[in-house]
């Protein structure tokens, strides 16, 4: 399929700690087309950030290794890219915004300066200061920053969280990338601001005709935006499908748990549901269903080996031995 803008095949990223090997991203497969929005969802610690950072080589080579897999982008394999190749791609072809904008912006440079930095990194030839300033102001206006000609001289700490994240978005989009990776872009923001920032990303996606990887621990956040969704648990994708598949026909017990935990859908409930327990940290190799300890349907068969994907329909599959059985509906 040639129209895929990025294609990830069998990606495995492992962390090496003193005592064990953590398979934080274990055999991840997906591909995206231009303009598509892919959601990656799962509780904290499921490996979402690991996948995102692997794509752009933002991993600490001292304790992290890409064990296997390919990340095909514009004819090169990003899993094996040289530092020079990665520099050319970061901020230029693939951009990323992080969870907490305040700590992602340098405290000692003005925001205007930090936007200029990415533009200069990817432009050849001399910078025309005046033109550059106009471009930056225009960009700041585009991401919804009021009176940008004043704010351009501000430092990060002088802006609100929402404004800081808008600056991060401006930096990310300054070079018109093909792919924007947004790793929990609203998690650190006030609830009232979250929707605005998501709306902004959605609008800019169309204007810049880019693909977006939207990462969240909250299925509700990705619901309105994503074409396809990967549900991750313990380093693996446990279910993937279109937005419709995931919401209307979830086949993995973990996906169902996440759906029940969406705040807005269950407003009338006394207490918000949450899946009992927490995500364990696994040690490679894993030879059980990773969700078994928390799954209401777990049985001995679940612990014999890691379940394979069961195809449910076109583009829809789940990693549970009961995925196509009625047991789950009980």
């Amino acid at each position: 399929m040639d129209d895929n803008i990025i294609e990830v095949r069998g990606l495995k990223t492992y962390y090496y700690t003193a005592t064990k090997v953590i398979p934080a991203a274990d055999d991840i497969n997906f591909s995206m087309k231009r303009g598509e929005v892919l959601g990656i969802v799962g509780e904290s610690g499921c490996g979402k950030t690991t996948v995102a950072r692997s794509l752009v080589g933002l991993i600490n080579r001292q304790n992290t290794r890409i064990e296997a897999g390919e990340i095909l982008f514009e004819g090169i394999d990003l899993a094996k890219a040289t530092p020079k190749q990665l520099e050319h791609i970061r901020g230029n072809k693939i951009s990323m915004i992080f969870q907490d904008p305040f700590v992602s912006l340098s405290p000692v440079y003005t925001v205007g300066n930090q936007i200029a930095e990415v533009m200069r990194a990817h432009s050849t030839g001399k910078v025309d200061k005046k033109k550059e300033r106009e471009t930056i102001i225009e960009l700041m206006r585009k991401v919804g920053i009021p009176s940008p000609e004043l704010r351009i001289k501000d430092y990060a700490y002088q802006l609100s969280g929402g404004m800081q994240q808008r600056i991060m978005i401006a930096i990310a989009l300054a070079c018109r990338p093909d792919i924007l990776i947004a790793d929990e872009p609203t998690t650190a923001l006030d609830v009232t601001v979250q929707a605005q920032v998501l709306e902004l990303i959605r609008n800019l996606k169309d204007e810049f005709s880019m693909s977006v990887i939207l990462i969240s621990h909250n299925l509700g956040i990705v619901a309105n935006m994503c074409d396809r969704i990967l549900v991750m648990y313990g380093g693996v994708v446990v279910e993937e499908g279109s937005c419709y598949d995931i919401f209307k026909n979830p086949r993995h017990p973990y996906t169902r748990g996440l759906l029940m935990a969406i705040p807005s859908l269950k407003e009338d409930r006394e207490e918000l549901f949450s899946i009992p327990g927490t995500v364990p940290t696994f040690t490679a190799p894993v030879s059980t269903c990773r969700f078994a300890d928390r799954c209401p349907h777990a049985c001995d068969r679940c612990r014999e080996k890691e379940p394979d994907f069961v195809d449910i329909g076109p583009g829809h599959r789940a990693r549970c031995i009961f995925a196509d059985k009625e047991v789950l509906n009980a």
């Binding site: 530092p83 050319h88 907490d100 990194a121 990817h122 700490y157 002088q158 991060m168 930096i171």
Partner: protein, 307 residues
Amino acid sequence: MLSFIIKRVLKGLLCVWFIWTLVFVLVRVTGDPTGWMLPDGASTAAVKELREEMHLDEPIIKQYVDSFLDLLHGDMGKSYYYKQDVKKIYSERLRNTFSLAVPSFLLAVAMGIGFGIIAALKHNTFVDRALMTITIVGHTIPSFCFGIILIMIFSVTLHWLPTFGTGSFRHMIMPMLTLAWGPMSSIARLTRGSLLDVMTKEYIDGARMKGLSERKVMVKHALRNSLISVVTVMGVQVGHMISGAVVVETVFSWPGMGQMLVNSAKQRDFPTVQYGILLVAFSVTFVNILVDISYGFLNPKIRESFK
């Protein structure tokens, strides 16, 4: 900014005044100079007469007020021992100390930051561990030991360098190294620690995500931020340097202020001690004000609060 500087200068003057007062009292309650000024076995009448002549019999409060008024008029008094204006005595001494301390400080800063960066970049390797061992030694062994070790090696054994005296660069090498070693070690360790800390910050990955080269990420983002905390301790290091100078000048017979201070303190030469301390207090305060201003320059949050 201006009001910040004025406030800072006033605070500094208050501090200098406090130190001067403290020393004024301390030297007087711990002894007096008449012991060595009169021949052995002088009569108590003779001692009493001399004390009266030197106004040492007056209540300490009166002595203090008189001296302070003199000080405000720029009269620093006469040395009991050298029998001349203390300002004159110190002028050359001051120059000698500066000609040793300033290059030593620059050496300490340059080497300290350099070693710190290398250690951080080579974190957990042999180079890092070697540098940290060297600097922990510099941190813990007193500078007079270090000076004596240098003398043993380079003068006594190898006959490369003179043990004392001034006049040439060769004379300066050992005193400079001795003086610079402690502050260099502290600055190196601090630079390393602060750089390692900054390198874990999210904005470093933010900078990498812009497509900047690793070198640019290091220099423009990591180093720039880690220097903020390094600069804050520079003032403290200058303080260490002054106390180090006293030792180093004594070990290497370097005719500077430190040596003078030690001798005049031993002799209870009150005006000389007081003026010496005043000079030291002034220089340390001055450097600290400079440090605060440059700190503000590096850190926008502080800079904004200057306005």
